[in-house]
């Protein structure tokens, strides 16, 4: 019997978690889930850059505060912080970050796409690896000359057999952990 592909399990768990996360209306649970996705990213292998998501989160909250509604909870002179706008901002920013990190866990380069499109994507990824490898070896000085030489080098290489499977970046334990997160996210929807 063929062993289940961990990249596929993780992909489908991510796909299954997506609606549960989107439909979650409780702010605390939603933010907690987003936090879990970020932690899973750190745990799974991926580098998590702190500042870009933090700036994105704060920008979305701030933008929402500029359209006040609800009770005023703070007044900073130029800006009145209202509870409705703050809650809406945190909810939107949490959704934005949660989706981003859920996607980063679920989608890997090993995620296979079937059919002719799949073959084209596999070839594109293969050429991408070649471009990345060859770039360092090109000695031309100007950026455009270097790029031209790179494309000519790739073209001149004989098409080698595409690798059947890429190196796995997700282990079984990660897939099981993610499956638990998927179940948990749906349980919280019905609580």
């Amino acid at each position: 019997m063929k062993k289940p592909d961990t990249a596929a399990i993780v992909f489908f768990c991510g796909l299954g978690t997506l609606p549960a996360f989107l439909f979650q209306q409780d702010l605390i649970i939603k933010i907690s889930e987003a936090g879990i996705f970020i932690l899973l990213n750190i745990f799974f292998r991926k580098k998590v850059r702190i500042f870009p998501p933090l700036i994105a989160f704060l920008s979305i909250v701030f933008m929402n505060l500029l359209s006040p509604y609800g009770k005023v909870i703070a007044d900073a002179g130029f800006l009145r912080v209202t509870d409705g706008a703050l809650e809406s901002g945190i909810m939107k920013a949490g959704t934005f970050l949660g989706l981003l990190y859920l996607s980063k866990i679920s989608v890997t380069r090993e995620t296979a796409v079937p059919g002719r499109a799949g073959k084209l994507i596999t070839e594109t990824f293969y050429l991408f690896e070649q471009l990345t490898d060859e770039w360092k070896n090109i000695e031309e000085k100007g950026i455009l000359q270097r790029l031209d030489r790179l494309l000519l080098t790739i073209d001149s290489k004989k098409k080698e057999k595409l690798p059947e499977t890429a190196e796995k970046s997700i282990n079984k334990f990660s897939a099981v952990l993610f499956a638990l997160v998927f179940l948990g996210s749906w349980i919280f929807i019905f609580l």
């Binding site: 991510g14 796909l15 997506l18 991926k46 870009p52 700036i55 994105a56 920008s59 979305i60 701030f62 933008m63 929402n64 500029l66 359209s67 939107k92 920013a93 959704t95 934005f96 989706l99 981003l100 859920l102 996607s103 980063k104 866990i105 679920s106 989608v107 890997t108 380069r109 995620t111 084209l120 994507i121 070839e123 594109t124 990824f125 293969y126 050429l127 991408f128 070649q130 471009l131 990345t132 770039w135 950026i143 455009l144 790029l147 031209d148 494309l151 000519l152 790739i154 073209d155 098409k159």
Partner: protein, 179 residues
């Protein structure tokens, strides 16, 4: 003969798609002053595709660019992907129209600027709808200005590359001969 054409067609689209991936990865590594401001390096191969490939080839490269960005940056399920896909599709439509209808009258600089403006306007509209509401008008001016400047530079680079590149002249010759 047709098989050779199809193979060459697929290969060229895949090379340009791979270049989109490469430039996306490069852009991903460059620190940005604000998360909403991007250079749009991955549009460079689309500008090249406009010069050498027939319409289905250009659309294939656009599809690969969208998918590649989602896979490499891991944003396939996110708003970022939705924004990027909508922007890329609309800007590709405008760029193809200008390139085909304008023929020699509109340079790649003009095509690139129009594509970037279209993409950015669509992204602003969707971000307003989904994320930040009416306050989007605060981001709009620097976002559009940065997009316009970077697209003009990118268009100028693509124009120069198309004039001087041996790779372009080889592929342009092949596909134009067949057409």
């Amino acid at each position: 003969m047709q098989r050779h054409f199809n193979r060459k067609f697929d290969r060229t689209a895949a090379v340009l798609g791979a270049l989109c991936f490469f430039l996306s990865a490069l852009e991903f590594m460059i620190p940005r002053p604000l998360p909403f401001i991007r250079i749009g390096l991955a549009n460079f191969p689309i500008l090249l595709a406009l010069e050498i490939l027939p319409l289905p080839g250009i659309l294939t490269v656009v599809f690969l660019k969208i998918l590649g960005q989602g896979l490499i940056q891991g944003t396939l399920f996110s708003y970022t992907f939705l924004l990027s896909a909508a922007g890329s599709l609309c800007s590709a439509g405008i760029m193809i129209l200008l390139n085909r209808l304008g023929e020699k009258r509109i340079s790649l600089i003009g095509v690139s600027a129009a594509g970037a403006l279209t993409s950015n306007i669509i992204q602003l509209f969707l971000a307003q709808l989904l994320l930040v509401g009416r306050a989007m008008y605060l981001i709009a001016p620097p976002f559009l200005a940065a997009g316009l400047v970077s697209s003009i530079i990118l268009g100028a680079l693509a124009e120069t590359f198309c004039r001087k590149s041996l790779w372009i002249s080889r592929h342009k010759g092949f596909f134009h001969e067949k057409a």
